[in-house]
């Protein structure tokens, strides 16, 4: 799987130490780019000093997903040290040394093999150093708990005693270095307490918003509520009269790359004074070109587009002809709204920008982008910009963006003092990069024997890539069709099409990206076909998965769906949920399955609907195949989390558009799941020896369709539009 080149570099960090640098590869494109420039940046370094202390310096960031616990576990396993003997350090942002970026559920999945190889390489070097010192064969030595032990003579040397000699040895080839037999794993596969948790129960954990530096000023920005609008004129007289307000300044919108709205910044001695100052601003907005957009106009435009053929992204057999002569034909339209990320910690960034250098504290999933964004705004050379990645109060894809960084840099540069720029919750809801709006039209056919024989799926959405790609290189379908184009079920006549619908609403990556949209549609529609065939929804799916296949769609995709594993989680979820067993009156069970980030998750939801039509989710049983689970309790926590996030989008909040702006502004009108609505969530892991795959996101996509299918089972009502506020 790892196509990355292996690197070892010794003795770099001053003093005698064994230093190993290496890359993770989760993205072939990034890999290719890397191959061209030298020296290659590494994702991580292992550092073993003379005291024997092992440090893993990594550019991956912690969002609560447990990556900074799982990664040292993998390293400790191969290096044969105690798990708590590995210190983890967050790498300083320097793209010439580190490759940054946390997302795509890739931190553990992408680092698995490289971390093992690097740990094994360092171990081999220590073994060879000891063997040389003793003048014995390396094969007679072994690593054990931070020592190299020479079996026959019962002598041993601590790693710290060996680093100097080891660091001078040639570097083993990563691809040939012997890895541990997984049967001997004693750390990987254990549930280990996350290292970041204690600081999160006593208020000592420092998030971006908690950064305090001497002389800090606080800023908020008034942005045009309409997407693409700007301030025509403003009067700051009243704002400046508020006690504590220091500066009021206009910051321009920055387009491609950052997509900031621009606006009027108010800088003050405290956050509250800045907020008060902003409220006192008098601004005439120029509402820009999208002021007439609404959810209504978007739906109408999508309907029109969906009536015409889109770009064909998969075509097998002849769906159109089969549908014409079909025994039973099912037609359906599904619709999903924009979704806000609504991370608990709103966007913020703290900067201290001087004439010749800058420092920034950013809760970001993309520290190197933070640095280049600051360089662009300030004109400072990147090496003079020091970015600290702070803890993040949730990421979910939102913190991949650099808009809040650009704004902070603009303000920080203008006022010449350290500034913390904070978004209020209202700013966060109104100026997110939302999950796309989507409109799907489907037709399917079932033959006399109850087989699904045709599937015609037309997807229309506000394309992420149309928003982000340079206009001459847009591939609109690229982030929209996963989970639909790679339909796991064997339907002989299959056609999938895509077309974007124009919109002024900013969109981007939302936890699990298109998988959450498409799973709702695909798993809902397959349930509809099962109902048309008068078949049990589970049995119907199982039959369509009976013949094992590998599905690699689109053909240039890096992942391939293995229908055996897909069926495996369906079977497991059904068994654990007691599929087919009686339920209390009024309850229904629904099942759904999805493949995303190379992992497989099936969920069975138990739902009832009360007299007022409100749905209640009582239980969600999840079966997960994410390869080998490095830290099983961490995996369970991620799946529990993804289910709740998915249920919020299924049953609670949505962003609707009117007058070119988001209608919601805070948690009173963008509601999310709360503790009193929380179902029992059970997570069952498939015991697997496959490489670890993504886990931060894959639990999300099946949640909404499992609930909708359960509502159908309970009430006979088929719900095709989210959120389901009332049945």
């Amino acid at each position: 799987m790892t196509t990355r080149r292996a690197f070892l570099k010794t003795g770099a960090a001053g003093g005698a130490a064994l230093v190993v640098g290496f890359r993770f590869s989760i993205d072939a494109l990034a890999q290719e780019a890397q191959e061209k420039k030298k020296p290659s940046p590494f994702d991580a370094w292992i550092h073993i000093d003379k005291s024997g202390t092992v440090t893993l310096i990594t550019a991956k960031s912690e969002m609560g997903q447990g990556a900074l616990t799982a990664m040292p576990m993998i390293l400790a396993e191969e290096l044969e040290v105690d798990w708590n003997g590995v210190r983890v350090e967050q790498a300083p942002t320097d793209p010439s040394i580190y490759d940054h970026g946390t997302g795509g559920s890739g931190s553990v999945a992408g680092s698995w093999l490289p971390l093992r190889q690097a740990g094994a390489a360092a171990r081999e070097m220590l073994v060879r150093a000891a063997a040389t010192a003793w003048n014995v064969e390396p094969a007679t030595c072994r690593a054990e708990k931070g020592f190299i032990v020479h079996g026959p003579r019962r002598r041993r040397l601590a790693y710290g005693e060996l680093v100097e000699a080891a660091s001078k040895l040639p570097i083993p080839d990563f691809n040939k270095v012997p890895l541990k037999n997984p049967d001997d794993f004693h750390i990987v596969g254990q549930s280990i307490a996350r290292t970041d948790i204690p600081s999160k129960v006593d208020g000592s954990a420092r998030f971006g918003i908690d950064v305090r530096v001497p002389g800090l000023l606080y800023a908020v920005v008034a942005r045009c509520p309409t997407f693409g609008g700007k301030a025509a004129r403003f009067d700051a007289t009243k704002a400046k009269a508020i006690a504590g307000v220091r500066h009021v300044l206009e910051i321009p919108a920055v387009g491609a790359g950052a997509h900031t709205a621009g606006g009027i910044a108010v800088v003050a001695d405290s956050t509250w004074a800045a907020m008060q100052g902003r409220q006192a601003l008098q601004i005439d907005w120029d509402h820009g070109p999208h002021a007439s957009e609404s959810s209504q106009t978007l739906r109408q435009a999508s309907e029109t587009i969906a009536a015409q053929p889109g770009k064909v992204v998969r075509n097998e057999g002849d769906a159109a002809a089969t549908l014409v002569g079909a025994e039973q034909k099912v037609d359906a339209v599904y619709e999903l709204p924009f979704q806000a990320h609504a991370t608990m910690e709103p966007m913020n960034c703290t900067v201290d920008i001087r004439a010749d250098r800058a420092e920034a504290w950013s809760p970001t999933q993309a520290p190197d982008w933070t640095r280049s964004a600051i360089a662009q705004v300030t004109g400072l050379p990147p090496p003079s910009i020091n970015v600290h990645t702070t803890l993040m109060g949730g990421g979910f894809g939102r913190r991949y963006q650099a808009d809040f960084v650009v704004e902070a840099a603009q303000v920080g540069k203008a006022v010449g003092a350290p500034v913390q720029l904070l978004w209020t919750r209202e700013d966060d809801m109104r100026h997110d990069f939302y999950r796309p709006f989507a409109y799907h039209r489907l037709s399917g056919a079932v033959d006399a024997k109850g087989n699904a024989v045709a599937w015609h799926h037309r997807i229309v959405s506000t394309s992420i890539r149309s928003f982000w790609d340079p206009p001459d290189r847009v591939k609109p379908e690229a982030s929209e069709i996963g989970g639909a184009v790679d339909l796991a079920y064997a339907v002989p006549n299959l056609r999938v099409e895509y077309a974007p619908v124009p919109s002024g609403v900013p969109v981007a990556w939302w936890r699990s990206v298109e998988a959450s949209l498409n799973a709702f549609v695909v798993e809902g529609f397959i349930d509809e076909l099962a109902a048309a065939a008068k078949a049990d929804p589970l049995a119907f799916r199982q039959r369509l998965l009976a013949e094992p296949r590998m599905i690699k769609q689109p053909p240039d995709s890096e992942s391939a769906l293995d229908t055996r594993r897909f069926k495996g989680v369906l079977d497991l979820a059904a068994a654990k949920a007691g599929w087919g067993s009686p339920l209390p009156a009024g309850r229904g069970r629904g099942i759904a399955c999805a493949f995303s980030f190379d992992s497989y998750v099936a969920e069975v939801a138990e739902v009832s609907v009360d007299k007022a039509g409100l749905p209640h989710v009582h239980r969600v049983v999840c079966a997960v195949d994410c390869g080998r689970a490095v830290n099983p309790d961490g995996v369970r926590a991620q799946v529990e989390s993804a289910v709740v996030y998915g249920l919020s989008a299924a049953l609670k909040g949505a962003i609707t558009i009117a007058g070119g702006r988001a209608e919601q502004s805070n948690f009173h009108d963008f509601e999310v799941m709360r503790i009193q609505e929380m179902p029992v969530v059970e997570v069952h892991l498939v015991a697997s020896t496959e490489r670890p795959t993504g886990i931060g996101e894959p639990g999300l996509p099946p949640a909404a369709p499992a609930v909708a299918n359960a509502i159908f089972a309970a009430t006979g009502k088929r719900l095709r539009r989210l959120p389901i506020l009332r049945v």
Binding site: A193, V201, D210, A342, V672
Partner: protein
């Protein structure tokens, strides 16, 4: 501006702020108690919860002038050494993910336990229903509250 005295975690501190300033921003910006979080500013999420005279209060909508001279406890004052049974239970159940909401959760849960040492699920829903955790840690929170109540923090 007004000269006020806040007794935060047992320490008396003078602040000079407009009395309508929310307690949240005085704690965070003027006094440096950053464990208390901002999430919504309108009593919707619970991230800013502190105790005022032992009662859970949303500091984002509590004008500082109304708590002059009163005893305020923030997450930093829940215990000196993470020894509060709820803190121990939170660790044992591996509750926090991003962790941002957890200060508020712990402050409401501790006010609940002080009043009702053996809370039912319904009590927990009542006490924590006003809180939001976007990481979805609710199930573990419920388990941890019960664990602490049963004296099983460890």
């Amino acid at each position: 501006m007004a000269e006020l005295t806040l007794v935060v975690n047992g320490r008396s501190q003078a602040v000079d702020v407009a009395p309508d300033t929310p307690l949240l921003w005085v704690l965070r910006d003027a006094l440096g108690y950053t464990g208390t979080k901002y999430g919504c500013g309108m009593s919707q999420c619970g991230a800013c919860t502190v105790h005022v005279e032992g009662v859970a209060a949303r500091s984002c909508v509590t004008p500082v002038g109304t708590v002059d001279g009163k005893k305020i406890t923030t997450i930093e004052g829940l215990s000196a050494d993470r020894s509060h049974p709820l803190q121990q239970a939170w660790i044992a159940e591996q509750v926090p993910q991003c962790g941002y909401c957890q200060s508020g959760m712990l402050m409401s849960a501790s006010a609940l336990l002080a009043k009702k040492p053996r809370p039912t699920d319904a009590d927990i829903d009542d006490a924590l229903g006003g809180h939001i955790c976007r990481c979805g840690t609710y199930q573990r929170i419920r388990r941890a509250v019960h664990r602490a109540a049963e004296g099983g923090g460890k």
